[in-house]
Symmetry: D2
Subunit: 319 residues, 4 copies
């Protein structure tokens, strides 16, 4: 029987049939490369009241890079260091929003090099609040991260904005019952449980829509609030139901968005049995578990919208 601690003994297989001349060629498939997690802090100091933008930017290009892979010919390889420099140079003119900034990078790389057909640009943005309304002192808000992914492929751009790490919890207003019971089912039904999750939501803008003039920062603020309100307001019979309501609220308020994908861990909070100590526990004392956790994921979309935008392949998660 296999056992994990001996699996690693080197073992050279027989020369495979696949090595005969008749075998199909081995070729390069889809590929991308660039610089990841370029940490960019932009201070806007036109006035004494400074503004602060804090991002981690990733740039990866697609195109004709076969020679680099098969022969180490770098004549097409726009250095990842050059991509990093470009990010910093462009930041001098301001960021504005992750979505706009990624758009500028995409336009530069896809028009600046004949052999670059597209690429994937992504950003995380971190938030800061002024310390007691100070002009140039800030405290970091670590409660959430804003995300954006822009895919340029086949002459089109596909844009997904998102939020991640937004941890929410309801102390009541959550039930779970009526699920099927089989040989392996031991879970008790409940009409009152803690519901907690870390919200990761990604919203896809309508492919091909004209997004010029859209205030992405305002959309972010609105979507964030809609997700929070829907989570809080939904009396939940299943995390799936809360999730669907969250996505629906976003689509109803934002016609420019065609699809919302949510990935929600069910952060289990187990009621502690205090009976052995002669103590009751009317849903007051809980153990917050780490692992395992439920993982509930779905796409909520406008009927008739493209169900499988290629941008999702670069993000992953759904079939």
């Amino acid at each position: 029987m296999g056992n994990s601690f001996t699996e690693k003994a080197p073992q050279h297989p027989e020369p495979a049939a696949g090595e005969s001349g008749a075998a199909p060629r081995i070729v390069l498939g889809s590929n991308q490369y660039g610089k990841a997690e370029v940490r960019l802090v932009k201070v806007t100091r036109d006035t004494a009241r400074h503004q602060l933008e804090d991002l981690s930017v990733t740039s990866q290009v697609h195109g004709d890079f076969e020679a680099a892979h098969t022969q180490g010919d770098n004549s097409h390889v726009v250095a990842t260091d050059t991509q990093k420099n470009t990010i910093y140079a462009f930041a001098r003119d301001g960021v504005g929003s992750p979505e706009e900034f990624l758009g500028r990078l995409a336009a530069h790389f896809t028009t600046g090099f004949d052999w670059v057909s597209g690429g994937r640009w992504a950003a995380e943005q971190y938030f800061w609040n002024r310390i007691n309304d100070h002009d140039h002192a800030f405290a970091k808000d670590k409660s959430e991260i804003r995300t954006a992914v822009l895919l340029a492929a086949d002459g089109r751009t596909h844009l997904v904005s998102g939020i991640t790490g937004l941890t929410v919890l309801k102390t009541t207003g959550s039930e779970f019952h009526g699920f099927p019971r089989d040989r392996y089912t031991t879970l008790a039904e409940t009409t009152d449980r803690i519901l907690a999750t870390d919200v990761t939501a990604k919203w896809r803008y309508a492919d091909g829509a004209d997004l010029s003039g859209l205030d992405f920062n305002a959309v972010y603020a609105s979507v964030r609030n809609l997700l929070l309100d829907a989570f809080a307001a939904t009396h939940s019979l299943a995390l799936q139901q809360s999730m669907f309501e969250m996505g629906k609220a976003v689509l109803q308020a934002h016609p420019e968005i065609d699809e919302v994908r949510l990935s929600l861990p069910n952060n289990h909070h187990f009621l502690v049995d205090l009976a052995p100590f002669g103590v009751d526990n009317p849903n007051e004392v809980f153990f917050a578990a780490d692992r395992p956790y439920g993982l509930i994921e779905a796409a909520v979309l406008r009927e008739g919208t493209e169900p499988q935008s290629p941008v999702w392949n670069t993000i992953g998660g759904f079939c």
Copy 2:
């Protein structure tokens, strides 16, 4: 201009046109749910010489779960707790290999419930070595993690095995020059640099191939060794070239594998300038940087093989 620390002020948008009766319905798209990171340790103790298997298993099912999302009707919702219990119950009969174990879970859930059409099952495996050949004492090998993902969809299974976290470095035998120079290029060319990366490789077995009787543990040991050998043996003109050679070596030796996808950060090691201190530095003293890093990714495949197996959509990374 947008600034990150005010973006979060709640902002309720105008009722959107999308809310009129004429608007397209908002519907549930692709979805999956289950239990993630079920930590399973299996001890096989038929003899005094125990065997140890250590995994983190994730089970997610696909199928008809619309009622749970739209009405909180759980009559189809096989509880994530039930999925966890099933994993532990099945482990009693042994694990053997992550791939075989995931296959047993997939068969159980797709045949056991009429409304479950498929799912995604994934595992990480952690390695342990015997302490001085002791019968029941082990030390954990944290140098790499073995991975496996099995997707059951459209009546077919798609299997990807992998390795992640395998950190390798060459102190010489790596060059980088001949890349294009534009306005933003400042990088110097080099004929001798440190090349370092954390190998994440995923190999896809031929869809529909008969994998019964395949020794997945032996394949893992072989692929791991082939990746290491190719990295070490390749005189590298670009990380892309090393990456392609690594994937090619696997495909040449393993006809049962159709595609290898690699994601390789370029872990930069910068030569420290000691000249200001009157000290030379002939490629001996380096600063190992954290971020940013290059990120080089590609698929290497057998010509004619299915280029876009749906399993990749559940893993992500490529367009």
Copy 3:
């Protein structure tokens, strides 16, 4: 010359002189044991407007446990599982503040078992904000963590409260010059730089002071605000200066506190040189570095106070 990759070859030393009968006995020194990171979530639901307390609690006892170490005699070993159960049982009566809760645990264990002479109890508290003032829906505030350590030793209790992970940044109002220059100095002087740090502050209450009736939650809120204000208000010539002002502000406002210890990384933000691209950079575009970082640490205390409370030995950092 030593080299790291061969250091691990097993190597059995000569039987040491220390093994002769004449050698000094090998004995047990200071020790402590218990349960760490007990994740406790307490919901107070006397009214429809629920209250939420979220902590990670660690309990470790000191006393006569020699037999367990030298003979595996557990007759004195209050099981770590029992310590965990006690934490949950006590939480049923409410938490109130980490400091008060740790005090109740300390009193229980030091009075409940003859051989328990003291111990170390510690807690982290995590914050949650109501979602739009909702009665039972909350969003986690991850921007800081509240800490507390209570040491019971020699019949006295020593209490240290703290805050950690509070990340702050000033975009100007920070200078650094006038430092000595030696052979290894290359740093340029500056009169305008970004100053950023992650505040870890720990304040020690006067040993032996009567803390009954003290509102620890109000003290926490006040100290937090004093630290933020002092960081923002100080025109900084050195991070040491900002740090001292932060500690001083706390001691001036809180006579019940004798000492504040701060540990402040200098989170470097390097101005990016855009000149090669023909772009100026008047302190607007920065690279936020990960490592290395400055690390500035000091104790600020009331003259005449005990300089070396034993509680610090259980926290570490200073000589």
Copy 4:
């Protein structure tokens, strides 16, 4: 009652009595500063068979730095950037062992600046193994980290070497029973359980001993092996017992070491109850829990040795 989500409302206390002229002065206490986590990779390439050393080095100095704290006068502040440069410059002459390298740094800073009275120097070392005995290709061994701390204070140096992150597990040969039972005790006794921990061990060399000529790399290899052997060989009635045997084995073999401090989490592996599924579980299927965990810590020392070397205050953990 206190509740965590309102604790943060700013609250300015009354001007404290402590602010009156009669109040004790607020003064600077113990302090240290420097550069942390300087990532250093040293390649020794005298021959075609390269050697690789990979460390993270921290340098902090002690001395007369009051003016920097109280007035922002940096005339004594050896820049943390200068400390970083010094680390890299010294590495040009080789590392050899973390302990020797820290000793060279300590000597430089304590003799090079009149006002530097001492300091704390620390290192982590990461291990690499050759890929199939290759001359210049290596794979990182992430299974453990080597540590060292050197404290220079009061004209003496205090040296502690260590290992951390060494995860070990026994599938049998561990019992736990005979512990006291009180109102809060529910744990069942067991004569066969999994015992697992992450070894953090720190060994203190005899203060004032002549360590010149000691092969620290050989000592590390020996201590590591002694710890592993003692863990494996001890039939454990309590983790405390295994821990004491581990420390004792080191002291018996290494007369140059006076004290070993161990911090061992008890990584709980809970037997899964498969009975509800009609399946037995004779110690074969376990759930590996994350939190909470037992935490067992002790010092094992040679009778008569200094029980409280000041170096421990800079490491923390014990009273």
